[in-house]
Each structure stands twice: as structure tokens, then as C-alpha cells.
């Protein structure tokens, strides 16, 4: 039976409550920001006295008014809640305003007097590299002897590729509502992927203990990593204002504000040198990855690390050196975004392979296939982890057939020979994505399961529902484990007072971690119920031998596998347990076994397992306008034994299309001062309904259970994002057709129509010369 998204009926009828929909008293105030107009400046002086007199304005606060610590950085404490002596990016918060209306706040803003002294700013990644503006020391991962191998190899190539950032564009902008309680209590309704961290930061900023702060998150209107740490900021601001005014305060960023001031996917610059033989086997790769961190650390080191750990993607490279350097710039601090550095990491090696194929005049799929990780050998990653349960060959074989790759390659060639101003491109790319937080301690989760005497179940767990269907899967797991109907299980809003000290819902790990925690809690309750069942069954039918080990939970009933005719209803057994004074509430706690990573050595076992996928994408470009169509995409993705096919397919499709945006239309443009030019959907273009593949075949790999996870499933949130790299490679293929595949296309990422048309011209001009 198909299980629909647990909130679906609410979504379609407008009953799903998001934070901005919560009904609050008339006492509510809205919080607004006064932000920096400079990428880098000293704050010389300011005066808020006039502004504070504005009608309808209840408070204007500067850093001097903060009751606790002026810091909201998640790992390194380098992000002030409100700027003090200087500002380090355009859009940095300096003052907070609590007002009844936006008009009042705007009026007050005009009356704020502040003087800056502008300082030199680093507004691009390249400037940062030139000026040695690094956030921390570089990191390194190496296998084999790269330098030596590069000297000995037959062919080498080198170059660099610039990868742009990406705005999350969750439909629901950052928002938090804080309601003060008695004493120092504060309840925050926060749109955050990390309620526990939001709680911690509010506590620090208010200077109170965590037990005073309750963070509740019902659902997010999209997040994609953009609310892993960035949700903390609005929460801190709302909390400070609510604490000061002793009234409920909501801070909701408007779209342009959100796009201007929050962190995005890290732009990268990749410098590469690669050595390969005439067969196309890659023998050595030397990579330098530069990540544009923005002004503060945030999650940059983890993102960079994941990029480094995915720099070889699905390929065995015997000699590989990967250097990662975090570059500090005067831009908003970049952050998590689906794939978390993985996509940027993979672009390097995929580009290398693309170039190798062109140099050798071979089909790129052939080169990719040759270099895939092996099953029995050639299966050690640069960081020393063995690639186990490798699904790459299964995927390749099935997908080459189902996508009719070989035939379509010929069709594409024929089409290109016949058309001067329209070209097609085709590419197949694999994904191997490591599952686990690479910061080992984060791999833990908790759950609290309550049984009520009517047999209904209330499930609390540490994960956040942001559309990925986590709550639905948790509900399914609880129902399956209890053997009851799904509607007997309700999943509560995520709440720090129910399950404390949780990890963010990120790294695709939500189901793996929380699912196990739920199961563990359910198992505890089942053990208690089984004890009661043995007693009750024996009372029903004397003389039979009932033991707890034989008790089965199935179809809303409890029985012994030995005497399956004799059943007690689930509700009855719960009620009986209550009368027997058994606890009907249990917590579950899970931590992933065995994961570790040594940063100084660059070696370890950072991942519990790998998820795999493969995609074939065909595109058509208009050589004269640079506009493109995705004609067809065939995807085969490995979700283990899927917990919910429809939800998993939804993740694959959604991730792929989001990836399409990253590689094609989602370009961030800045002026020299560091102003983001496209800060609204007017100029920032995520894919629309007509941008998806005209033929879109998405399948999950069958018959490949994951041995060690909850119900043999696999994480599916992030890995399919990188399947869209096939579209970028297909675009390169199409552009390169302009030069008859003899010349290297100069194509940026994202390959917008602007870059495509310029790249095509370059090739046309070179052909003419």
C-alpha cells in the first residue's frame, strides 16, 4: 500500500501550519534588521536616540544591548549577532528593530545615524587567493605518490575550473517566532534544521541556561542545508528582541533580504593536473580546491572536507593528492547546501575525464566506465576507506541498456552533423556519495515514543521535517515495528524539550539515525508489552506455554507465533500494560558504529556506507542564443530497500532538478563592491516547470538491500543532486560539437545561456582561424 506524505492532506488544503501562519496575540511585534551597506568597514560611531522615538517602534538594539554573548557561529565563534566595531559583509546585521509595522521600522531606519569608514574588501574568490586570505590552514588527503606518478605518466593535462555559488531558494524564507514565558523562559518556533543548536545559540545570546529555552519546529517550507545554521540567526535576533520587549517577536526575512544576507553553496575554484594513459586510465590527479567561505567559518571546514572526500567521485585513482583551502572573503558566510561540497568536489574529476575523452577521441562513458571503483580490487579511496557493496557496475549495465545510450550517441552525432546552429550533447555520469556526518560525534540520534491507553502512538524524534518525508518514514517505521495501522501513529513537532541534544537533520542521515532511534524505543516498549501479553494470553488459555520471545506484533494485534489463533488487540494490550503499571513511554538512542576520521593524517573510515546513482542526460543547445533544453534524462538510483518508493523517487527527481539549476541557470552576479546583483527571483532563476527533462525516466535500483541500516534502506536526500552533473557534461559535449569535438569548450559552471553562447562563439571563431 502506498503511504502518502504524512502532511499531504494539510498541504493541499492550507491547514499545514508554517511559522508565519501561527496565530499569535495582538501583542506581537515584528523584528527588522539594519544592515551594513559595505563589504568591509569600520563603524566609527552611531546614534539611535532619534530613531528610538519613532512611533510604533518598541525597541532598537545594538550589540551593547545584548544580554549574553555576542556570537552565533555554530562551530567557531566568529559570527557576531550584531556587528560591533566593524562590518565584514554587505547585509551584516548591525541593529535590530522591533516595530508594529514595516512602515514604522522603515521610518526608524531613516533616523538611525551611523558613520562608517570603508576598508579594502575581498569580494571574489580569486582576490582572496591572491591576497592569501585564508580562514584556516589547508587540509590534505593523499594516496600513492602523486608527484612521482605525474612525472611517469604518458599524458598530462592541467587547468582550472570556477564553480559558482547557489542560493537555496527554499520557498519559505528564514523565520522565527519567539514567545517569552515566565522568568527567563523563551519558546522559539524556529524554521531550523537544527533545533538543538538554535536552542544553544539562543541560550548563549540571552545568557541563560539551555533548559530555559524550548525550540519547536513543526515543518520547514524547504531548507536544503540553508537552515542548518542560517536559521539560527533569525532565531537569535527574534529572541533578543522578545527578551528585551517581553513580547512575542517574529523575524521573517523578505525574499531579497534573505538572498542578500544568508549564506549559500560555496563557490569553488579547482586547479587540476591529471595524468592518464592512452587507454584513458587515470593514473594520477593533483587537485587544489579553494572554497569561498565568506566572512566566517560556519560549516566551511566540513564542506571543504566533504568536497575533498568526493574529489575522486566513483573512480579509483591510485595516486591522488587533494589539497583544500578555505578562502575568507567579505561575503555572507557560505554554508551547507544539499551535497555539502560533494558536488563541487566531483566537478573536478568529471571535468578531467571529459577532457581525457576528448583528447583520446573516445566516448566519455567509456572512459568513465574504465575508471570506476572495482569490486574486488581498485577499491580504496584516497582517504583509505574501502568501497564496499559497490553498485556501480549494476547501475552501469542496467542504465546503458535502459537509456539506449549507444544508439543515442549515434543519433546525437548524426543530428550534430546535420545542424549548424543547433547541437546536442549526451553524457553519463556516476555518483558515489558517502553517508555519515564526517564529524563523527554528530552521528547520533534520539527518540521518545509514547503509547497512550487507547492504543495511539505519539512519536518524537530529533529529526526535522523539511519536505523530505522524514516524518512519514518515521511513522512508517513505528507502525511497521508495532504491527499497527499507520494512522495510529502521530509524529510530533520536533521539540528540544522532548528529545534533547540532537544533531542537525542533514548529511542525508535523518532516516538512518532517527529511524534506528525510533526502532530502539519501539523495541523497548514491545518488550514491556510482550511481558504483559504472555501473562494475558496465559490467562485466556490456560495450560499453554507462552514466552516473550514468541510474541508477535502484527495487524493491530499481539499473539504468540506458536498459537497464532489466540490474539489480543493492540489497544487492549496497551491498556492492560497500563493497568499492570508498565511504563508506556520509552526513549531510543542510536549512534552509528565505527565511523572515524583523522584530519591530520587525512585517513579514516568517515562513512558508514556509500550511496550510488547514475544518470544519462541529453541536451540540445541553440548555438545562437545559448538557450538549451534537457531532452531526456534517465536515472537509476540506489536507495537500498526503499522505505517509501514514492518519497524516494521524489527526492531523486527533486534533487536532480535542483542540480540542473546549479549547473545551468542559477548564477550569482556581484558588482565589484560585493553587492549581490541578482537578489530576487526576478533575476535569480531556479528551474521552472518547463526546464525539467522532456523525457524523465527515474528508477530506483532493485535488489540491492543495504545490510546495516534501518530496514535495509539508504539515505537519499543528497546523493541524487550530483546526478545533474551529467547535464553539465552533456552541455559541454553539445558546445564541443560546435568545434567538432576537437577543441576544448570554455564553459563556466553554471553554464547559463550567456556562457554557452560565448563559448560557442569562441569555438566558431577558432574553427574559422
Amino acid at each position: 500500500m502506498k503511504i502518502f506524505h504524512e502532511s499531504a492532506a494539510y498541504h493541499v488544503s492550507g491547514k499545514a501550519v508554517y511559522i508565519d501562519d501561527i496565530q499569535v496575540s495582538d501583542q506581537i511585534l515584528n523584528g527588522y534588521l539594519y544592515t551594513s551597506p559595505y563589504a568591509h568597514a569600520k563603524i566609527l560611531k552611531f546614534d539611535l536616540s532619534e530613531a528610538r522615538k519613532t512611533n510604533g517602534v518598541s525597541a532598537i538594539l545594538s550589540y551593547r544591548d545584548l544580554p549574553g554573548e555576542n556570537q552565533m557561529g555554530p562551530i567557531v565563534h566568529d559570527e557576531p549577532v550584531l556587528a560591533e566595531k566593524s562590518v565584514e559583509f554587505i547585509g551584516q546585521a548591525i541593529f535590530l528593530i522591533a516595530a508594529q509595522t514595516e512602515e514604522a521600522a522603515l521610518e526608524a531606519k531613516k533616523k538611525i545615524s551611523i558613520e562608517f569608514e570603508e576598508l579594502p574588501a575581498v569580494t571574489t574568490l580569486k582576490q582572496g587567493i591572491e591576497q592569501n586570505s585564508f580562514l584556516q590552514a589547508q587540509r590534505k588527503i593523499e594516496i600513492g605518490n602523486t608527484e612521482k606518478a605525474l612525472k611517469e605518466t604518458k599524458n598530462t593535462l592541467s587547468g582550472e575550473i570556477e564553480i559558482g555559488g547557489q542560493e537555496h531558494w527554499y520557498l519559505e524564507t528564514q523565520v522565527c517566532l519567539c514567545v517569552p514565558g515566565e522568568g527567563m523562559e523563551m519558546k522559539a518556533y524556529a524554521s531550523t534544521q537544527n533545533p538543538a543548536e538554535t536552542q544553544a545559540i539562543i541560550a548563549e545570546v540571552l545568557g541563560v541556561s539551555k533548559h530555559q529555552i524550548e525550540v519547536e519546529t513543526r515543518r520547514l517550507g524547504g531548507a536544503f542545508g540553508g537552515k542548518e545554521t542560517q536559521g539560527n540567526h533569525v532565531a537569535a535576533w527574534a529572541a533578543v528582541l522578545a527578551n528585551h520587549t517581553k513580547r512575542p517577536v517574529k523575524v521573517r526575512l523578505q525574499r531579497d533580504e534573505d538572498q542578500k544576507i544568508t549564506g549559500k553553496r560555496h563557490p569553488f575554484l579547482i586547479k587540476y593536473t591529471a595524468g592518464y594513459n592512452d587507454e584513458g586510465l587515470i593514473e594520477a590527479v593533483d587537485l587544489e580546491l579553494f572554497a569561498n567561505a565568506g566572512y566566517a567559518t560556519d560549516l566551511t571546514m566540513a564542506v571543504l572536507e566533504r568536497a575533498m572526500m568526493h574529489a575522486e567521485n566513483a573512480y579509483f585513482i591510485p595516486n591522488m593528492r587533494i589539497i583544500g583551502k578555505p578562502v575568507k572573503t567579505n561575503l555572507p558566510s557560505n554554508t551547507a547546501f544539499r551535497g555539502f561540497g560533494g558536488p563541487q568536489g566531483m566537478i573536478g574529476i568529471e571535468t578531467i575525464i571529459d577532457i581525457v575523452a576528448r583528447k583520446l577521441q573516445k566516448d566519455s562513458a567509456e572512459i568513465r566506465f574504465k575508471n570506476l571503483y572495482g569490486i574486488h580490487d581498485k577499491n580504496i579511496t584516497p582517504y583509505g576507506q574501502k568501497v564496499e557493496n559497490n553498485r556501480l557496475f549494476m547501475l552501469y549495465e542496467q542504465l546503458v541498456k535502459s537509456s539506449e545510450y549507444q544508439m543515442r550517441r549515434k543519433d546525437v552525432e548524426r543530428y550534430n552533423a546535420q545542424n549548424e546552429f543547433s547541437k546536442r550533447g549526451l553524457a553519463m555520469t556516476p555518483v558515489k556519495f558517502g553517508i555519515s556526518f564526517t564529524t563523527a560525534f554528530l552521528n547520533q540520534a534520539g527518540a521518545l515514543v509514547n503509547l497512550y491507553t487507547d492504543g495511539s502512538v505519539l512519536l518524537n524524534h530529533g529529526g526535522v521535517e523539511m519536505g523530505q518525508g522524514l516524518h512519514t518514514k518515521m511513522q512508517q517505521i513505528a507502525a511497521l515495528e508495532f504491527g499497527i495501522d499507520i494512522d495510529l501513529v502521530k509524529v510530533n513537532a520536533t521539540n528540544t524539550s522532548k528529545v534533547p541534544n540532537t544533531s542537525p537533520t542533514a548529511a542525508s542521515s535523518g532516516t538512518d539515525l532517527n529511524g534506528m532511534a525510533v526502532k530502539i524505543a519501539v523495541d523497548k516498549l514491545k518488550a514491556r508489552l510482550a511481558k504483559v501479553a504472555v501473562k494475558k494470553l496465559a490467562e485466556l488459555q490456560q495450560g499453554l506455554n507462552f514466552v516473550e520471545e514468541d510474541i508477535v506484533f502484527e495487524k493491530n494485534a499481539v499473539f504468540s507465533s506458536k498459537y497464532s489463533d489466540l490474539k489480543i488487540g493492540f489497544q487492549q494490550i496497551v491498556n492492560a500494560a497500563w493497568l499492570e503499571r508498565e511504563s508506556l513511554s520509552a526513549t531510543g538512542f542510536y549512534s552509528t558504529p565505527g565511523v572515524h576520521f583523522d584530519r591530520t593524517e587525512g585517513k579514516g573510515q568517515p562513512f558508514f556506507y556509500f550511496a550510488f546513482g547514475m544518470a544519462v542526460t541529453e541536451v540540445e543547445i541553440d548555438v545562437l542564443t545559448g538557450q538549451h533544453h534537457v531532452l531526456r534524462a534517465d536515472i537509476l538510483h540506489d536507495a537500498g530497500e526503499s522505505l517509501n518508493r514514492s518519497i524516494d523517487i521524489g527526492q531523486v527527481e527533486g534533487a536532480y532538478v535542483q542540480g540542473l539549476g546549479w549547473v545551468t541557470s542559477e548564477e550569482m552576479k556581484y558588482d565589484t563592491k560585493g553587492n549581490l546583483l541578482n537578489h530576487s527571483p526576478d533575476t535569480y532563476k531556479i528551474p521552472g516547470v518547463r526546464d525539467i527533462p522532456q523525457i524523465f525516466n527515474v528508477k530506483l535500483l532493485e535488489g540491492a538491500p543495504n545490510p546495516t541500516t534501518i530496514r535495509k534502506s539508504k539515505a537519499v536526500g543528497e546523493p541524487p543532486f550530483m546526478l545533474a552533473i551529467s547535464a553539465y557534461m552533456a552541455l559541454r559535449d553539445a558546445v564541443s560539437a560546435v568545434g567538432n569535438h576537437k577543441l576544448e569548450p570554455d564553459l563556466q559552471l553554471p553554464a547559463t545561456n550567456e556562457w554557452i553562447v560565448l563559448a560557442c562563439r569562441k569555438l566558431r571563431n577558432m574553427l574559422m582561424c
Binding site: 498541504h11 527527481e653 527533486g654 516547470v689 525539467i692
Partner: protein
């Protein structure tokens, strides 16, 4: 006209089945409060979401039912770029209206069953866009569904399940709980609209006029020369939502049925200034395919449903999508003030960056497009980053006439996005006149484009790409019309 008699500061409309009166002299709303802000201020209309407040995401989509001729017509619109004052005489529907007791509407059911919502934030908007389709098209093809969803962004799903849900829902051929009630709604709206006296909505900071006849409109414009005209408000509403301006004085022309007619004689097709771009699009498909094709990639369906043709011309934006092709078609405007009419070619009407020849007491009343000489070849082009719901980087309208000697008899190459206003590439045109329409000549001619224009770099594209695109569009035009 005497202001004393303009007392009504009240508008009337239906919200679901409920009639609502808003008296701006006492309410907290302004006439320029957006419909989105108004709906979100109500306790039971929270389904209507704000994703952008600029018409670019569809999270705020609602459906209007309104009287058109003698029928009730449904259309999806972006409530974030509609002023509350302009909903007078309409029925507003949101997802809260769709279900019946515990039962979901067929569209809602299909959305649930296809897992068409993930985070769900976009879902009400999509549902209403599909509802607009459902009520208008009983057998939609895939492209109709895509058009219906062209104004909605979803960041989670990748759209496939939403397309499937739309297709699945439409098997009911538009039948639903609203079908039986249309007559009654029609009557109620007719009664509201029976008042033809100017509505004058006044608050401390705003004056907003809603006239119902052309003569009233012309009088009002004469008396209030500084009043801003509001058509579909898709341009001016952004001044409120984005630039945070207060628009103190507005004359809204959207209630004038007189300005919404489309007619033709042997030589000319006439479009009322107040016609929505979608109405124009549908009406011009056969007669002016070049206009039709540019309108098909203009904004999104919800934007076109409300935005007017005169608004696109009147805003005189350098990247207006209709201007190049209208100029290529040699279209002209009928312009009126209280004293009479004048006519002017659109080419002469636009005189600078957002500058026209319109005087402060004038309004555009009709757009006149002449039927073309059968030898005229017309094409329109729009280059943008994204296919739907994007503003042009460069756009163009081209007209070519080749005489019986095989030479270029006349040619018009009109470009948008290349200068401060929509302009012809006169030197390039000249270099092609009386020449053979062959690749060599075209390639030589396009070198002149750099003399015709010096484009700028902005958030959409760099100057280099613009220059190249302008050249390439001419080559493309040649390629598509080569003999």
C-alpha cells in the same frame, strides 16, 4: 466633476461564498495593500503564502472568478501583485474554498496521491493554478498544463508529480462543487457591478479611483494629472512591495469593460488597452503569430492573466517583450484625453528610458495592429536565462520584405535590451536594403550592430553577450527565413 459626490470609499467582493465590504475610511487596509497581505491578515486564509512578493514564484496564487461577457470566468493570478482595491466585483478563491466538508477537491486528491507536495509551501499555489486550468480546459494537453504551471516555482519536487497530479485531476472535466453555484455567483457579482459610479477610496495617505466608464476615466485623469494609471498593476505593485513606496494617487482602469474589447476590420485588428496579455495572446494566434509566440513566453500565465497590453506599452521599459514585435508590425496607439483622440505609431510613442509622448491627461485606449502585406515575414525572439517567467536579456521583432527581384525591399530590426529603450538597428537595416538575403550579406550587415547599439552589463547579462546575442538573432532570423 465634483469630488463631493464621490463618497463611496468602499469596495465589495466575494471571498469564497462570503460577501466582503471593505470601507477604507475605517479599515486598517490601504487600497494599495496587496491582496496577499490582506488574505494573510485573515485567520482562515493562511494557505496563501508569500514566497517573493513580486509575482515570480506563485506561492500566493489565488483564482478570481469574474464576469466576462455573460459568463463567469476563472483565472489564476498572483495575489502579491494585485492591489486590494482592484478586486472589487470579483470572487476570490483559495484552497480553503476547494474542499467540501471533509472531502478534498479532485485536484487536492490528485496532489495527495501523486506526492506532489514535499515541504508543501508551494502546494496551495500550485493547487490554485491547476484549479484555474481545471475550470478552463477540459482536455488539457501537456503543454497546456505546463503553461498553467508556468508561474509556480517548486524547489522540492522537480515538478513531475505536480504535472501528473494536474493531468489526473483534469479527467473530471471541470465538474466540481462550484459548477452548480455559478449562476448564483454570477448574480451576486452582477449586482455588485451594477453600480457604475466612480469609487473613490481614500485613506490618510492614499487616494484611489475606480472609474467604470471611459468618460469618467478621462475626466479623472484631467483633474488628477499626476495620478498613476493602474492596469494589471504587475509593474506598479512592485514599487509598493519591493521599493516600499507609497503610491498616493491612483486611477485604476481595470473595471472598464469598454477598454477590454477586441475587434477587427479588413485592415486592422484593434485591442482595447485594458485587454489582458493572455486575452491578446489567444486572440492573435492566427493573425499575428509573431506576437503570439512572444506572448507565449511573456511572464507566466498568472502574470498575463492580469497584466494589460497597455501596461506593457505604457511602462515603456527597455526590455518590454511586446514593443519590438509591435514596432515591427507597425502598430500604433489610439490615445485619448477629454478633448479627443490622437493616433501615434508605437515607434514614435517611445522616446526614451521609460519615456513616452503621453501627456499627463492622456491615456492609451486602443492598440491597432495592421494586417501585413503577404510578403512581410515577421518573427519575434526572446533570449532569457529561463524559458518561462523571465525577463529578456535581449529581445527582438523583425520584419522582412523581399521583392520579386529577390532583394530586400524593406526590413525592420527592432531590439529590446540593447539600449535605454526599444530601438531599431537602423544602420544594420540600411546595410541590408536592396541586397540579396543571403548569408554573406547578413554576416556583413551584422557587423553594423555594434554601431547601432552599445549595450550595458547588468544582473541579467554582460554587454559582450548582449552584443553577440543581437548579432546572432539576426543570423538566426536569416537561418529561419532563408530562401
Amino acid at each position: 466633476m465634483n469630488h463631493e459626490i464621490l463618497k463611496t470609499s468602499e469596495i465589495r467582493f466575494l471571498l469564497g461564498e462570503q460577501e466582503v465590504n471593505i470601507d477604507f475610511s475605517v479599515s486598517n487596509y490601504k487600497p494599495t495593500t496587496t491582496l496577499l497581505q490582506y488574505l494573510r491578515s485573515l485567520p482562515d486564509r493562511k494557505s496563501v503564502k508569500e514566497g517573493c512578493a513580486e509575482g515570480d514564484c506563485g506561492a500566493c496564487t489565488v483564482v478570481f472568478a469574474e464576469i466576462k461577457g455573460n459568463a463567469l470566468k476563472y483565472k489564476a493570478v498572483n495575489s502579491c501583485i494585485v492591489f486590494l482595491a482592484s478586486v472589487h466585483g470579483k470572487q476570490i478563491l483559495t484552497v480553503e474554498d476547494l474542499g467540501k466538508g471533509k472531502h478534498l477537491h479532485p485536484i487536492q486528491e490528485a496532489m495527495v496521491e501523486e506526492d506532489a507536495g514535499q515541504c508543501g509551501f508551494c502546494t496551495p499555489g500550485f493547487t490554485m493554478s491547476i484549479f484555474g486550468l481545471y475550470k478552463n480546459n477540459n482536455e488539457p494537453e501537456k503543454s497546456d498544463i505546463e503553461t498553467a504551471l508556468s508561474g509556480n516555482l517548486c524547489r522540492c519536487t522537480g515538478y513531475r508529480p505536480i504535472l501528473d497530479a494536474a493531468e489526473r485531476a483534469c479527467i473530471y472535466k471541470g465538474m466540481d462543487k462550484f459548477t452548480g453555484k455559478e449562476h448564483q455567483i454570477f448574480q451576486q457579482l452582477t449586482e455588485i457591478k451594477s453600480n457604475k459610479e466612480i469609487l473613490f477610496l481614500k485613506t490618510e495617505q492614499n487616494q484611489y479611483y475606480l472609474p467604470f466608464s471611459l468618460s469618467d476615466l478621462l475626466h479623472l485623469k484631467k483633474e488628477n494629472p499626476h495620478a498613476l494609471l493602474a492596469g494589471g498593476t504587475s509593474d506598479i505593485a512592485l514599487r509598493v512591495t519591493k521599493k516600499k513606496e507609497n503610491l498616493p494617487l491612483i486611477i485604476d482602469i481595470s473595471q472598464l469593460d469598454e477598454l477590454k474589447t477586441i475587434s477587427k476590420n479588413d485592415n486592422i485588428m484593434f485591442f482595447g488597452a485594458g485587454c489582458s496579455l493572455e486575452d491578446v495572446r489567444i486572440a492573435c494566434e492566427k493573425e499575428f503569430p509573431s506576437l503570439f509566440s512572444i506572448l507565449s513566453v511573456f511572464g507566466s500565465l498568472p502574470v498575463r492573466n492580469n497584466a494589460t497590453i497597455s501596461g506593457n506599452i505604457g511602462s515603456a521599459s527597455p526590455i518590454s517583450d511586446t514593443l519590438p514585435v509591435l514596432m515591427a508590425l507597425d502598430a500604433s496607439l489610439e490615445i485619448q484625453n477629454i478633448h479627443g483622440k490622437r493616433e501615434q505609431k508605437i515607434e514614435d510613442f517611445i522616446v526614451g528610458y521609460r519615456k513616452t509622448t503621453l501627456s499627463s491627461d492622456e491615456i492609451i485606449t486602443r492598440i491597432k495592429i495592421p494586417f501585413q502585406d503577404k510578403n512581410n515575414i515577421l518573427k519575434s525572439y526572446k533570449v532569457s536565462k529561463r524559458r518561462d517567467l523571465d525577463i529578456s536579456t535581449v529581445n527582438a521583432g523583425f520584419m522582412l520584405n523581399i521583392n520579386n527581384r529577390g532583394l530586400v525591399e524593406s526590413i525592420k530590426l527592432v531590439y529590446g535590451g540593447m539600449a535605454a529603450f526599444t530601438k531599431r538597428a537602423t544602420q544594420t537595416e540600411k546595410s541590408l536594403l536592396n541586397k540579396e538575403w543571403c548569408r554573406e550579406n547578413v554576416e556583413n550587415a551584422l557587423k553594423n550592430i555594434q554601431n547601432d547599439f552599445s549595450p550595458i552589463s547588468d544582473a541579467r547579462a554582460g554587454a559582450e553577450a548582449r552584443q553577440l546575442l543581437a548579432e546572432n538573432l539576426l543570423l538566426k532570423f536569416w537561418n529561419e527565413t532563408r530562401i
